[in-house]
């Protein structure tokens, strides 16, 4: 008797499992949003906020019934900001049937993966890949981004240095990385073209070196009145600290890799007076406030780098799919280009090459231990 009962209950359980499965199958296919970026490793602080942003947006949208009656499912993949891993990640997302991708975070990784996405006709919207070639070369019609490109940033920095601060002798330093060196090259080009200032030094620092005084001394010897630094905050804070320790009052201008609160915290008092370019301040925007509040409620902390850009990217994706009526490549690309969407960065849409119209950079300065917008 007991055995029979056990058998029956087993069958019922089994059936229940299957019933559950069957249920799923009859519901609408979810829209799979691939979110790729650095979720671990030393650049994770640039990638995790974007993942959080995607999760928040998707949660909100799904609660309202999803897009086109379909729920959105996030496929998060970690590429540690390494190009060769990014190609693996791209292949994985494709084999998992992602419909659209939000990512990657680092320009190098994005570049590596884009070719694979292009062949698979997947749209990619990046919140932080700023390498100009990605849109300007025209090779990637499937690529969009919700952040201005590096050349725009470099131009901003150079214009500020030359026209606002009236600096004449500029030392251009980079951290030998893809992002930093790229920016530095543009900066050098723009300075030379401007004719109003000269590049007295163009050098790179080795990340992780034991001592930076050699390069600082070189800057001093070149008699530069300003340093334009391309790279991330660890190297920037080290160079600035060594400069101030040696009593150099040289103006220090850097990029959005440095416009990060961690820079101020690590460099301490040496961060005072440092200029950095960053995405335009949209903190007055009600959508921005709502997004930041959502992050604080859900994760109990302030959002990190590129959070708003990723939030905007996800919103843009959702909006485009909605307006296009499907996840078809042609339709969604058209929608992205033609339909403006309200985001924490303002009302944006994308141009022919994939850059976002309505997203720009402005300059910030560290005063009293915090970044303040200058322009």
């Amino acid at each position: 008797m007991a055995r029979k009962f056990q058998f029956l209950s087993g069958v019922v359980l089994f059936a229940a499992l299957f019933a559950g499965k069957v249920n799923f199958a009859t519901a609408a296919e979810p829209i799979r949003l691939g979110v790729a970026g650095a979720h671990s490793g030393d650049l994770a602080s640039y990638g995790l906020p974007s993942l959080n942003a995607a999760r928040l947006v998707v949660k909100e949208i799904n609660a309202k019934g999803g897009v086109l009656g379909r729920q959105i499912e996030i496929l998060a993949e970690d590429d540690v900001c390494k190009p060769e891993i990014a190609t693996n990640t791209a292949t994985k997302l494709i084999s998992e049937k992602a419909d659209i991708v939000m990512g990657h975070i680092c320009s190098g990784a994005t570049k590596a993966a884009l070719g694979i996405y292009k062949d698979a006709k997947l749209i990619v919207v990046s919140p932080s890949a700023t390498n100009p070639e990605l849109t300007q070369s025209g090779k990637y019609p499937n690529f969009f981004r919700t952040i201005a490109a590096d050349d725009a940033q470099a131009r901003q920095e150079v214009d500020f240095a030359v026209k606002v601060l009236h600096l004449k002798r500029l030392a251009v330093i980079h951290d030998k990385g893809d992002y930093g060196k790229g920016l530095a090259e543009f900066a050098k080009e723009f300075i030379e073209k401007s004719g109003a200032a000269e590049v007295v030094l163009y050098e790179g620092v080795t990340p992780g070196a034991v001592d930076y005084s050699a390069i600082v001394q070189k800057i001093k010897r070149a008699d530069a009145d300003g340093v334009i630094f391309g790279g991330y905050h660890p190297e920037a804070s080290k160079v600035v600290s060594q400069m101030r320790k040696k009593g150099m009052q040289t103006v220090f201008i850097s990029d959005d890799g440095v416009k990060d609160d961690t820079f101020i915290k690590v460099a301490g008092p040496n961060a005072e007076g440092v200029y950095a370019s960053g995405p335009k301040d949209t903190s007055k925007n009600p959508l921005t406030k709502a997004a930041i509040l959502a992050h604080q409620t859900e994760y109990g902390s302030e959002p990190g780098a590129f959070f708003l850009n990723a939030y905007a990217a996800t919103l843009a994706i959702v909006n485009a799919i909605d307006k296009a009526g499907s996840t078809d490549f042609e339709a969604v690309t058209k929608a992205l280009r033609q339909q403006a969407v309200d985001t924490p960065l303002g009302s944006i849409r994308f141009d022919e090459r994939g850059d976002a119209i309505g997203v720009g950079f402005s300059m910030y300065v560290v005063r009293g231990g915090a970044y303040q917008e200058v322009l």
Binding site: P83, T87, G108, G115, I116, K176, G177, K181
Partner: protein, 401 residues
């Protein structure tokens, strides 16, 4: 029994002390906050206690337990059994792409590429006994030669493959010349230096190599002139690498029993005796470097074709270390061992992805563990066991002739 417990207790206390600052205390100097994570301490103590007991048990019963580790060599020696296994493996390898997704084929291709790299390094380190820590340089040469030749001259994959191998071989000879007189660890550090020099040049000489931004848009190998879709291309590459792997195994096996192979082994065993026997040391060493390098070059070309994007960050010292680890872990000098080593080394981190953050930690731990418990590698070659190895002689640090 009590003594054992006491010993384990002491070890546990030691480890708790050891990990106290880093594991227990979490400081936030910016906000002047200190967090004490005592739970970690308890965990460490417990783990250390248990592991010590287990370790000492193993140490005492090592010879009995060793019976359970299958001795592979007798298996491989039996000809009919060997052929059977080979046939099974060949079948599995050939049918692999049919049953697995593109993503997993990709991973397997990477594993096979590392296997070929391991076999190439095996020529230098395993057969000739020349400790090369800069092997990745030749890998980079192959990859960049394809990328650059394609960028400047539009050269296709099939043309680039032999050229990549040849260029790498030339670099191998270029590396070999200055280090002819160096021995052992001096050779190691110089080769390490070479590897780093190549990577740094690639990173900084923008005009030549496009620096850290790398080179994108490298075409995949064409199939009789046609370009394939991504999925098919991945499958195609898998078979290409498989073929290359088989070719490599064939070549290395033949080389091992050839004159040059014997010369390498003689060089490894005793350089002076080798010279006394009339073997041209220079030629032997250079051939070893050149041949080993040419394999790395060819795999480099494949790598460039596979990922379609290369940059100097893929060619760091860690890569050389991993390839060396594959050779050593698999069992130096043993072809089967190298292949197994590659599969373990590359597939394991992929499947450890579930552990995400702890992946590299486990990786390091496994490396140490395998070495400590089985220093001769997973498939230790039995050839060397016929006579006891002399103890490392510390009086001789570096030799020269």
């Amino acid at each position: 029994m009590l003594a054992e417990l006491k010993k384990a207790m002491l070890v546990a206390v030691w480890f708790m002390f050891l990990t106290l600052p880093i594991l227990v205390v979490k400081v936030n100097p910016i906000e002047q906050k200190v967090v004490w994570r005592w739970a970690n301490l308890a965990l460490v103590g417990l783990a250390a206690f248990v592991l010590t007991l287990a370790g000492r048990y193993y140490g005492r019963h090592k010879t009995e337990l060793a019976k359970y580790w299958p001795e592979f060599h007798p298996l491989l020696a039996h000809p009919a059994l060997k052929r059977f296994f080979l046939a099974i493996i060949a079948l599995l390898a050939a049918l692999f792409p049919l049953f697995f997704s593109s993503y997993q084929i990709n991973i397997m291709t990477t594993a096979l590429m590392y296997a070929v790299l391991g076999l190439g390094l095996n020529i230098v380190v395993g057969l000739a006994g020349l400790l090369d820590l800069g092997y990745v340089a030749f890998y980079a040469v192959g990859a960049y030669s394809y990328a650059l030749l394609n960028y400047h001259f539009g050269l296709g994959f099939w043309a680039a493959l032999p050229i990549g191998g040849l260029l790498a071989a030339m670099f191998g000879i270029a590396l070999g010349f200055p280090v002819l007189r160096l021995r052992g660890d001096y050779l190691a550090i110089v080769t390490l230096g070479f590897g780093e020099i190549i990577r740094l040049i690639l990173e900084n000489w923008n005009d030549f190599s496009f620096g850290p931004s790398g080179i994108a848009g490298i075409p995949r190998p064409g199939f009789f002139g046609m370009t394939l879709s991504v999925d098919n291309a991945i499958c195609y590459l898998y078979y290409l690498v498989l073929l290359l792997g088989l070719l490599t195994i064939f070549v290395v096996n033949r080389l091992r029993d050839s004159r040059i192979g014997r010369a390498w082994i003689a060089l490894r065993e005793d350089e002076i005796a080798c010279q006394a026997m009339g073997i041209d040391k220079t030629r032997t060493k250079l051939t070893a470097f050149a041949l080993g390098a040419s394999w790395a070059g060819m795999v480099g070309v494949l790598f460039a074709a596979k990922t379609t994007f290369i940059n100097p960050a893929s060619f760091t010292f860690l890569e050389s270390a991993i390839i060396l680890a594959i050779v050593v872990l698999g069992g130096m000098g043993s072809t089967v061992g190298v292949v197994i080593g590659a599969l373990v080394f590359i597939l394991l981190p992929e499947y450890l992805r579930a552990f995400a953050d702890y992946r590299m930690l486990l990786f390091g731990m496994i490396m140490v563990g395998v070495m400590v418990f089985r220093p001769q590698g997973i498939i230790g070659t039995s050839r060397r066991r016929s006579y006891p190895l002399p103890d490392m002689d510390l009086g001789k640090e570096a030799g020269h002739d």
